[in-house]
């Protein structure tokens, strides 16, 4: 149980860190730490618990921003599901592939963000040009932040796995992995 609580704790810390980054860093260089959290929750074949945590983190971001309710929750949930699908294929346990994956996914997340807004909240869409300007800087800083965070996530996920709080609802695929 303590492993799961620690995962929750790091989610809160990352949310606060993102709030600080928003105050300190220029707009074009702000990392999306909540997205890193959601992506990491899909590692090790993250089960339903990881998905719920990812949606929860997105929901908190929705509440603390002016976004249409559910937008970030959907994006974070999708990020978690995508990592779960791609984890094994891309070998995301090492820092370099993980950072590259996070960077590329952040770019993809901008595209998903634009598409989702146009589908579900067309009255508050951001121009594609605006997203294109912001995407490279955000992808770079998010990838840079993701690499050192991987070690923390791996340790917490292993702990949660070991104390039994993580795989309770995890899929069979996650259990069979080395």
């Amino acid at each position: 149980m303590s492993g799961l609580l620690r995962l929750l704790g790091i989610g809160v810390v990352l949310l606060l860190a993102q709030a600080v980054a928003r105050l300190v860093l220029p707009t074009l260089a702000q990392p999306d730490l909540v997205l890193v959290y959601a992506l990491a929750l899909g590692l090790r074949g993250g089960g339903v618990q990881g998905l719920l945590l990812a949606f929860g983190a997105g929901f908190v971001e929705d509440v603390l921003s002016a976004s249409p309710p559910g937008l970030f929750a959907l994006l974070c949930g999708t990020a978690c599901a995508a990592t779960r699908l791609l984890d094994r294929a891309l070998y995301l346990r090492a820092a370099a592939p993980w950072a590259a994956y996070v960077g590329v996914y952040t770019l993809a997340n901008f595209a998903l963000f634009g598409v989702t807004q146009r589908m579900f909240a067309p009255d508050s869409v951001l121009e594609w040009s605006e997203l294109l300007i912001r995407a490279p800087g955000a992808a770079l800083t998010t990838a840079l932040c993701a690499a050192p965070l991987l070690h923390v996530f791996r340790r917490l996920l292993v702990e949660a796995d070991r104390d039994g709080s993580w795989p309770v609802l995890a899929t069979q695929g996650a259990r069979s992995r080395p």
Binding site: F55, V63, S65, A66, G70, F120, A138
Partner: protein, 342 residues
């Protein structure tokens, strides 16, 4: 069956939650009371936010104070010069206001009355870089309702988009969801100020032949349903006449520096202008109390015309400003003597 459910549990769970999110986005309503779950999250997270952001802003303040001492003598000289110019300008404005008041009495306009306002502290900035909002420490308990305008002494900040008893969420004018009907003080050219999610805004739907220049001051027209007339929105940063079409493009620098915003005022009155009377009511500077307000300010551009905007906006915020009669002419430019009443 149970084996099948277990096997596809992750996918089922994902689609269920994703559908909930999509439903939430699609069923978004106008500004309203924040629901139970978001309120719970907000109440739990705000103390943590304060713990982190308060020391940070204190640190920034201390650093800013220290840096302010560097070159203070030169700045002092410069500020003295500016103060002298501002005093002269202030004198001219005072004269203009006195003239305007005399004229208003003659025309039989109603006396000005106080606008009830609530001061509030900014306790949280928007977490996402894609939207522009903030949270203030006054809410429904202080009489704040969704749709109420938020201002500072510099100008328009935004409008209240949601409330809890102890806090309110404010949608800033630079948010892409925000629309403010405004006009250029110098030429009365009308248009709509739209946020871009950056630090500036677009001034849209301004006819190509209108005379707009860099540095022109933009004021709220009062023709929408949220902001009273004559509040400062910002200044024209650049004008683009290259694009084809009926309208020109202009970038606006907001009057308020949202990155350093600490205290704001919430105007506790909301305007509601019936659709069939919207033009005449706004034209006469009426401001009926109470009502609801939609998200952003809806411009009533097709009904109005630049020439019909009352021509003596009063920028003093605490007083309600009825429109001056049409012959009251133009407010004086800085450096020029005030227009004499006719």
């Amino acid at each position: 069956m149970s084996e099948l459910l277990r096997r596809f549990r992750f996918a089922l769970c994902y689609f269920a939650l994703a559908s909930l999110c999509a439903l939430g986005m699609a069923s978004r309503k106008a500004p309203a009371e924040i629901g139970f779950a978001p309120r719970l999250v907000l109440n739990l997270s705000l103390p943590l936010e304060r713990m982190v952001t308060l020391p940070l802003s204190e640190l920034r303040g201390a650093w800013g104070d220290y840096m302010a001492l560097v070159g203070v003598r030169e700045e002092n000289e410069r500020l003295r010069g500016r103060l002298a110019r501002a005093e002269e300008e202030n004198h001219q404005y005072r004269e203009a206001i006195l003239s305007s008041e005399r004229f208003q009495k003659l025309a039989g306009f109603r006396a000005q009355r106080e606008i009830p306002m609530v001061p509030a502290n900014v306790i949280h900035q928007d977490l996402s870089p894609w939207f522009q909002s903030l949270i203030i420490d006054q809410g429904a308990a202080a009489g704040i309702r969704p749709g109420m305008p938020v201002i500072t002494d510099s100008g328009v900040v935004g409008l209240v988009s949601g409330t809890t008893p102890g806090a309110s969420k404010v949608l800033l004018v630079v948010d892409p969801q925000s629309r403010v009907d405004a006009y250029v003080e110098r030429t009365r050219a009308r248009g709509t100020v739209r946020g871009t999610s950056g630090h500036d805004c677009d001034f849209e739907y301004v006819l190509r032949h209108e005379n707009i220049e860099e540095g022109d001051l933009l004021l709220t027209s009062g023709l929408g349903t949220v902001y009273p007339k004559g509040l400062v929105v910002g200044r024209v940063a650049s004008v683009d006449r290259k694009t084809s079409g009926l309208f020109l493009g202009a970038k606006i620098t907001p009057a308020v520096d949202f990155t350093r915003l600490e205290e704001v005022f919430v105007i506790l009155e909301q305007r509601q202008i019936p659709a069939e009377e919207s033009f005449s009511a706004a034209d006469e500077g009426l401001w009926p109390a109470a009502a609801t307000a939609p998200k952003g300010q809806v411009a009533d551009a097709p009904k109005a015309h630049a020439a019909d905007v009352p021509k003596a906006p009063v920028r003093g915020l605490p007083k309600r400003a009825p429109a001056a009669p049409k012959p009251a002419a133009v407010a004086p430019k800085p450096g020029e003597p005030p227009a004499a009443p006719q």
